[in-house]
């Protein structure tokens, strides 16, 4: 089965469909990774997965190298708030300061 190269040979628009989805990634050696898909590097096909913590707090990030990805399965959709958190995750500080000013709830 040649699933590894199948993932790498997809087009950017195929990968884009997985952005902000909750996914289950199977990597080489049956390694399992689960999380929100933040992005796919269009050059290496590497998958950036995020497991979000509390609303205020940290999160953990896993990156599966494109050459080791065997299967990507969508298991959930992000709501608006989750999508916002995902897109602002690695943004530069100045935007973070602007967005973080009023968050009371």
């Amino acid at each position: 089965m040649n699933t590894t190269s199948a993932w790498r040979q997809r087009t950017p628009r195929d990968w884009e469909r997985y952005v902000n989805k909750q996914v289950h990634v199977t990597a080489h050696g049956q390694q399992q990774h689960r999380g929100w898909l933040h992005t796919v590097d269009p050059v290496t096909a590497s998958v950036v997965l995020v497991r979000l913590g509390d609303a205020a707090g940290g999160c953990s990030v896993s990156v599966v190298m494109g050459h080791a990805v065997e299967q990507v399965e969508v298991v959930g959709e992000a709501d608006e708030e989750t999508a916002m958190r995902l897109s602002s995750l690695f943004r530069p500080k100045e935007r973070e300061a602007r967005a973080g000013g009023g968050g009371g709830e």
């Binding site: 628009r13 884009e16 990597a27 796919v40 590497s46 950036v48 080791a68 690695f90």
Partner: protein
Amino acid sequence: SISACNEPGTDAGSLQTEQHARSMMRERFLRCLLSMANKQIQFDMYERVKVNATFGASDIDVLNFQVSDLQTPIGVQSEALIRCQDVISYSFDM
């Protein structure tokens, strides 16, 4: 390694959509790499090797990672390059 959309009938509009998708995802990836600088990263490599190191930088093609204090089973290497093709996945906390 950059694949372009070569389907017949590809027009300027769909090329633009593809370029937009590509640039959005690449930017997200590069910002993720940036945020890893000076963080403790765990690398899962082939042959069930797991190592920890402090991330320094990556080259633009993501072929090598430059790391410090690489904790290997036979000792700590103060500076090292990790070949990306030897890595299955890596993880860190934000």
